[in-house]
Each structure stands twice: as C-alpha cells, then as structure tokens.
Symmetry: C2
Subunit: 165 residues, 2 copies
DNA sequence: CGTATTTCAGAGCCACTGAAATTC
DNA sequence: CGAATTTCAGTGACTCTGAAATAC
C-alpha cells in the first residue's frame, strides 16, 4: 500500500553536469532516475519494484520466512512486512505460520502470484531497457558488474559475514 | 543545519546479492553507501557534501545567482536556500542583492570560504577514495563515465535543453 | 539466559512540488 | 501580461533504527 505513486512529472531538472562528476552525486541522480522509472511503470499496473524481487526470490529459491526473504532480496525486514501485506491481500503470496518454528511465517508463491510475477518481470525488463537505453550490451554488464562489486565490497566491510553466498 | 548526522551504525545489512542484480536496486544501494560515507566524513567537520559542490562552483566559475548555482551544481533551487543559509552564517559565502537585477542574490566566495573549500575538498577526495576503494583507476573512470552518461541521457530526454554545456 | 522473528512507529536524507512575493 | 528568482512549507521514496511481543 506504500510506494505506488503516480507518474510524477519533472519540473526543474537542474544541473548541466559540468561539475557533477562526483560519484556520490551521480549515484544519487542515477538512483532517482531508476526510482522514477520504476514507480511509473510498475505503478501503471498497481505494482511496485520490490514485489518483483520478492516474487522472483520465491520462484527461484522456494518458500521462506520473511527474514529469509529480506536477506535474499535486500529489502529491509521492517519494509518486507508491508510489501507482503500487499502481496497477500492481492492473493499473490500465501502467508502461514511455520509449524516447525512458531516465530516464523512461511511465505509461498501462489498460482496467481506466478502469473503476476510474469507480468511484473516483463515490466521490470522494460524498466531496465529504458534505464540502460544509452548503453550497449557490454556497457550494461560493465555497469552492473561495477555497481555489484561496489555494493558487495562495502557490505562485506560492514558486516563481514553476508557476502553473497 | 540539515543533513549533518552522526555516524549511523549499520544494523541489519540485508541481502547477499544473489538476486540483487537489478540496476535500479544497485543504484539505490550504491547511493546509500555514498550518502552514508559523505554524512560521516563531512559531518565530522560540521560540513555537508552539498557545500563542496557550491563552493567548488563558486571557485571555478565565479560568483552567481542562486538559480545559477542550482543549475551548476544540480542542487535543487529550494534546497540551495538552506545550503546557502548555512554557508553564509559561517561566513564562507557572501550573499548580496544583485544591483542589476533585484530579484537575484549574488553569491560570492569569501576568503574563509576558500580555506573551507580546501578542507572540504580534501574530505571529498577521501570519500571518493573510500567509496571507490575496490576499483582501480580505469574502473573508476569507467563507472563515473557510465553514470555520467546515464544521467546525461535521461536528463536530456526530460528537459531537452540543459545538456551539459 | 541470549538470540531470532514479526511488526509498528518513526527518523533522516534526498529529490522534488506548489505556491507566494518580488522583480524583470 | 508572461517569465524568472528567492523562499518556505510540505510530500513521497528509500534506507534504516528502536522497541515490543513472541518463540526458539
């Protein structure tokens, strides 16, 4: 129920990046562009980019507790709750107490969820295509590789355990 | 007076990026890492990363109106106000009504401001060094180039005028 | 006991909107 | 008149904290 905004017209896009070569700025600006694209495209079908991550994870790795889904997708445990609230309300996931560990919920992908995943995946691909439109295939992989390594590196320094099993 | 937070320890860094290969996610995660680093390092001397952009712009391109500084740095016009409030209160910039156009303020770099710029620049370099630590020189340039082109491309599509003079 | 899970309420930052007052 | 500048108040997204309730 959160994070599904409407188109969001741009008003005063600011800098002709003469000075904007600082990576931190570029990262923020790039993230904002991706956020805007995702919000528009996913919002158009009442979805959200986080839902793709959750559904994809369920599809790829099978059912899991909410904490495990958090670990798999990078969505914060607290935020996962509301993502799952929406997905459950729409019937895209099942959410049942784990009989083996009553602290947990077991989240499962439903059949409608599988269909929804296909739809959202398509949209996700479109977003990626739009976002990376200025790049050729090699450059896309380069960017993803560099960003992945950046995140990886800093995460492993902060929490020297979860280093991408 | 805004945006100077304290260290900000990380708590539950989430995903071992098995699934986190989506560029929008990576962009957000990378931005968050940069934001955290900047806040820590600049905050330690009571500064903010936006101040470097403004002071650098003044140093490189000379005095300008607030709107022009916005265009040069990419900081939003509304946000520029509070950045300049702080810089002016600390004596790092001058802010006087433009005699030639009474709508404008002319922002100038003061001598203390020049000294401050040197200090903040050093810190900015350190942040960049920490952020890009996992990369060699070629990769750093690659990442900055790719991000720059990404931003450039999308901005020019939204506002087909300000294309980085 | 300490640790893990689910959940909520909320903070902080960033990018951005909308509008008022002023001047061109 | 329309357009630009400064300013403020506020929105929404994202990441993340803190703590309570529960169960291991």
């Amino acid at each position: 129920m959160r994070g599904m905004t409407s188109p969001m017209p741009l008003e005063g896009r600011a800098t002709p990046p003469r000075l904007g070569r600082l990576p931190t700025r570029l990262l923020n600006q790039g993230a904002a562009i991706g956020d805007r694209l995702s919000a528009e495209r996913f919002g158009a079908v009442g979805g959200h980019r986080w839902q793709v991550a959750v559904l994809t994870s369920l599809d790829a790795f099978g059912p899991g507790s909410q904490a495990e889904l958090s670990r798999r997708t990078g969505i914060f445990r607290s935020d996962m709750v509301s993502v799952l609230n929406t997905l459950e309300a729409d019937g895209y996931v099942g959410r049942a107490p784990d009989p083996d560990d009553k602290r947990r919920n077991v989240i499962t992908l439903t059949e409608p969820g599988r269909t929804r995943l296909a739809e959202l995946s398509r949209i996700g691909d479109g977003v990626q295509e739009e976002l990376l439109a200025p790049f050729d295939e090699a450059e896309r992989e380069q960017l993803i590789d560099l960003l992945g390594r950046l995140v990886q590196y800093h995460w492993s320094r902060e929490r020297p355990s979860d280093d991408g099993s």
